[in-house]
């Protein structure tokens, strides 16, 4: 095995892993604010890619407005999910709400299928398809886009949650919604904001990956599961664990596909997840409890 192919696996692993990481981040944002695992997160990723394709093809929009429009529309869809499905079920337990999100994901997938069919679509690459060669490995410019956008988004979210009062208030809702309300946080508005923010993060992930992997109405299922696995791998509730979990998962998957067989690509993800859950149920970077005992 030469270093060039190993490098190649690493690059493609990091690229796909970025999307897993962004999906995982979406799970984390909603989980941290509400305690809900939003199983419609994969659909946000799908919507990002699909809406960009549709805005580009059906409406003839140039790439940039199509991409931005898709992210904006998905963010809006995230808000609608909260307003129409989560908020009316107020008082339901997190488990019941998780079931609601599964229903929502089936609904979104079904709507997209009815409207635009079961075809697979491709989004144009953002800056051409001429590979960048280095050390014998080839890298598509889109991979650079994926990595750069992911890192930028991560840095922005980190700044939001650690340096702004609204980010801290969002975290406060996760630690104790009652106490957050008592310091004057409008908890309902925060929940809405968390759905919109994680839809945005998911859509960005979907839109940057779509040129590389193609997109269809049902890509959200597997992306959602992989993102969830990344989340658990990194330690549920830890945003940076989630992103790291995504990258690790992507890289392992790429090496597995390259060195073993691409037929086992998806199996590898879930074998790793199972093994980790047996060995370390809190995940690699699972939050240690800050409680005094």
């Amino acid at each position: 095995m030469d270093t060039a192919s190993l490098l190649q696996y690493l690059v493609s692993g990091l690229t796909v892993g970025s999307t897993y990481g962004l999906t995982a981040l979406g799970f984390t944002i909603i989980f941290n604010t509400t305690g809900i695992i939003n199983f419609a997160q994969g659909e946000f990723v799908m919507l990002g890619g699909m809406l960009a394709v549709i805005l580009g093809q059906a409406l003839g929009l140039p790439l940039v407005p199509a991409v931005l429009g898709a992210v904006a529309l998905t963010t809006l869809a995230g808000g609608l999910v909260e307003r129409l499905a989560i908020r009316p079920a107020r008082g339901a337990s997190p488990i019941q709400l998780v079931i609601v999100t599964i229903g929502v994901s089936i609904l979104i997938r079904g709507l997209v299928m009815l409207l635009w069919g079961k075809d697979t679509f491709a989004l144009p690459h953002f800056s051409g398809m001429r590979p960048i060669l280095f050390a014998g490995a080839a890298m598509l410019p889109q991979s650079l886009w994926v990595l750069a956008v992911t890192l930028t988004l991560l840095a922005a979210l980190r700044a939001f949650f650690t340096a702004t009062i609204h980010g801290k208030a969002m975290l406060a809702c996760s630690h104790d919604p009652g106490a957050a309300a008592l310091v004057g946080v409008n908890v309902r508005r925060m929940v809405l904001a968390s759905f919109m923010l994680s839809a945005l993060v998911g859509a960005v992930g979907g839109v940057i990956l779509a040129p590389l992997t193609m997109t269809a109405y049902d890509v959200g299922i597997l992306l959602g599961l992989k993102g969830f696995a990344a989340c658990i791998l990194g330690g549920l509730g830890n945003p940076f664990g989630a992103a790291a979990g995504g990258l690790i998962l992507g890289v392992l998957e790429a090496f597995g596909a390259g060195l073993v067989s691409s037929a086992y690509k998806d199996a590898i993800t879930f074998i790793i997840l199972l093994a980790l859950l047996f060995a370390r149920p809190t995940g690699l970077f699972g939050a240690r409890s800050a409680d005094r005992v």
């Binding site: 009062i165 106490a179 309300a181 008592l182 310091v183």
Partner: protein, 243 residues
């Protein structure tokens, strides 16, 4: 300042508080005492908007807040230090305090918020020395101080305190109650405090109400309640025969 008229509170089918009326005048410290499950905490969570009463009305400065949302009530100047402190445990002490000022977090308020932070640190110096620690690593007494400090950061005119002595050693409880008097002196606050430790609460308060299975059965100046034989028997742990 605060008036409750004929408040009924239900938790599902349980009638937790029955037609309770009480009032707190500006600058007063009022204690609401009673045993476990008497409805004390329900009364406070209903005042602060976390729970809706099934009947009656609540007035703050003559304004009806019966159905107002918790964040709106905070903005009107009423802050609630909840039972069990409810600090944001994984977050730093200073972040907890700053979140207390969430409702008035605007650029032109920055200087005043910084002043208030200094005032809280002046009152509770231990919080200053632990400002960068996770709130969950504080002791129970320190967490209680943090919860009070967080409520002060909202610049309230009135404070609701729920069981500030819960789970604390006797001398720590006494310290917390010294701070309750200090809240009025330093910040000019009006206080409604709910306590199981009736003696401690009544010694700090001007007046008191006794809540028993959801009904207010007695009220009066603190000294009178401390002398009252029924109160002594039920809440002060004094043996009547010996008295």
């Amino acid at each position: 300042m605060l008036t409750l008229r004929n408040i009924d509170i239900h938790h599902g089918r349980i009638h937790a508080v029955k037609r309770a009326s009480l009032h707190v005048r500006p600058g007063e410290i009022v204690a609401l005492i009673g045993g476990n499950g008497a409805g004390k905490t329900s009364t406070l969570t209903t005042i602060s908007g976390l729970h809706r009463p099934s009947g009656g009305e609540i007035l703050l400065d003559g304004r009806d807040i019966t159905r107002a949302a918790p964040d709106a009530i905070v903005r009107l100047g009423l802050s609630h230090v909840p039972e069990g402190r409810k600090v944001f445990k994984p977050m730093r002490v200073e972040d907890n305090l700053n979140l207390g000022a969430y409702h008035r977090w605007r650029r032109r308020e920055r200087a005043r918020i910084a002043e208030d932070l200094d005032a809280v640190y002046a009152m509770f110096p231990v919080l200053l020395s632990r400002r960068a620690q996770a709130a969950g690593t504080l002791s129970g007494g320190e967490q209680q101080m943090l919860a009070i400090g967080r409520a002060l950061m909202a610049r309230p005119r009135m404070l609701l305190l729920d069981e500030p002595s819960m789970g604390l050693a006797p001398q720590v409880s006494r310290e917390i109650f010294r701070h309750v008097r200090e809240l009025r002196e330093r910040f000019g606050l009006t206080v409604l405090v709910v306590e199981q430790n009736a003696r401690l609460a009544l010694r700090a308060a001007d007046r008191g109400y006794v809540l028993e299975t959801g009904r207010i059965i007695l009220q009066g100046p603190s000294e009178e309640l401390l002398e009252n034989r029924d109160v002594q028997r039920a809440y002060l742990g004094r043996d009547l025969d010996a008295g």
